[in-house]
């Protein structure tokens, strides 16, 4: 079965981000979305450690240890960007000023619950960072993840079994095998990946998925 690779997934998410959006890209996979935002679209990337108007990674040798993103990687600032402190940064988030937040996930439930911070294993050292603030703060929270675990279990679930990050906060789930809308009564397939049918997705997830569209991801 054909799956989208990580760059294809990132490109697909990027397509849904309109010009002028204020966007926070979570650590890990979502960071890739930045590479696929079209250059001719002005989109404002926020990093919760205190910058807005985040630019691409600096050239080798140009790194500044005091100019980093939430993943602690060196970044740059676009002309027109600015710096602020942590309380202001999370005010942007919690106050509903960020239009779109893209996060990774362990699980997302059909009603939009998100689990992405803790495996729940008793000996794991928990670390939450800004995940809970991001999940519930943005006007729209997108999740970007592979649909299945390595063992083939669906990460889109009826009810999350991992500890929750936020309740009913996710609106859309971008996966390597299809795009889903969640919340508001259940999950639907918004877009199919070529070669994957609605029945395939129903079987893989074990969910009675509705269908909102007939589009195929290219």
């Amino acid at each position: 079965m054909k799956r989208l690779d990580r760059d294809q997934m990132a490109a697909r998410v990027a397509r849904d981000i309109p010009e002028g959006s204020y966007v926070n890209l979570g650590i890990g996979l979502p960071t890739k979305v930045a590479d696929h935002l079209p250059r001719n679209r002005e989109i404002f990337l926020q990093s919760e450690n205190g910058l807005l108007g985040m630019g691409p990674a600096p050239a080798l040798g140009e790194e500044d240890p005091e100019l980093i993103n939430a993943g602690k990687q060196p970044v740059t600032l676009l002309s027109g960007g600015c710096y602020f402190h942590h309380a202001d940064s999370f005010a942007m988030m919690r106050g509903g000023h960020i239009d779109i937040c893209v996060l990774g996930a362990f699980q997302v439930s059909v009603n939009g619950d998100l689990a992405n911070w803790h495996t729940g294993e008793p000996d794991a050292i928990p670390a939450v960072g800004g995940a809970m603030d991001l999940a519930i703060g943005a006007r729209q929270t997108f999740v970007m993840m592979e649909l299945l675990t390595r063992r083939g279990q669906s990460k889109l679930v009826e009810t999350c079994t991992y500890p929750l990050t936020g309740l009913a906060c996710v609106s859309r789930v971008y996966t390597d095998l299809g795009i889903f809308s969640v919340g508001g009564g259940g999950a639907s397939v918004v877009e199919l990946v070529e070669g994957v049918s609605l029945d395939d997705l129903r079987q893989m997830t074990g969910l009675s998925l509705g269908r909102c569209g007939v589009a195929y991801t290219s």
Binding site: E42, L77, C82, A87, G95
Partner: protein
């Protein structure tokens, strides 16, 4: 390309409609966005709820808005002043509702709205008339009053410089409520004395990041009269 610059004050306030809640920056006349208010007065909208520190000084700004009969309610800390006669008259005539809020609670409630908090326990006002009927709680040996955020549909503020992304810097004590009102309103409209090219504001000194600002309109000081002439021509 994102360009938040509006061509005129008229255009900038064109979607403020009857019954809107409107935060207006300024402490006294410092930071008062007079030209945006004038443009609002020229629109035929009423029943407004105004959030400002005062209830108007003299004949301009918030005072002019009140004089024009557009204000149903005002949320402020210090309405009565030597030159607040327009408010005084309307208030005594029962034509305007007043919600009096201690200045620091006003700032904290506006800030809480911008920061997405549901409510705050503040010590200010405990045991006074202004806390009557409000929930109170003793925390860590100090009495507090539960206060709720103040949101608004619009904020009209005045800054010194702005760019097309909405980044703002202010001048001296004209800063006052501008930065927090920008955070608390759904649509923030800033009049700036100078619209500068993107990138000319130092990223370290931007006071209000563009994310909090939806529209910027350049009002060169001294140009107000010409503007008014044009509008009435």
């Amino acid at each position: 390309m994102i360009d938040k610059a509006a061509v005129s004050a008229e255009v900038a306030v064109a979607d403020i409609s009857d019954g809107a809640s409107v935060m207006i920056g300024g402490f006294g006349t410092a930071g008062m966005p007079d030209e945006l208010i004038d443009a609002l007065i020229r629109r035929d909208v009423g029943d407004l709820t105004i959030i400002n520190n005062n209830a108007g000084n003299g004949e301009t700004g918030v005072a002019a808005l009140i004089a024009a009969g557009r204000v149903r309610k005002i949320i402020c800390s210090f309405p009565r002043q030597s030159d607040s006669h327009h408010f005084d008259a309307r208030y005594r005539a029962g034509e305007i509702e007043l919600e009096l809020v201690p200045q620091g609670n006003l700032a904290a409630r506006i800030h809480a709205a911008g920061a997405g908090l549901g409510a705050i326990f503040t010590p200010t006002g405990f045991g006074t008339l202004l806390a009557q009927g409000k929930e109170t709680r003793r925390i860590d040996g100090r009495d507090h009053v539960l206060e709720y955020p103040i949101h608004a549909d619009f904020a009209l503020i005045k800054a010194s410089k702005g760019d097309r992304w909405g980044n703002l810097v202010y001048r001296k004590t004209a800063r006052n409520f501008g930065p927090i009102m920008a955070m608390a309103a759904r649509t923030t409209i800033a009049q700036v004395s100078e619209l500068v090219p993107l990138g000319s504001l130092d990223p370290e000194v931007v006071v209000t990041p563009g994310i909090f600002v939806q529209r910027v309109v350049e009002i060169t000081p001294g140009a107000a009269i010409a503007d008014l002439d044009a509008a009435t021509a």
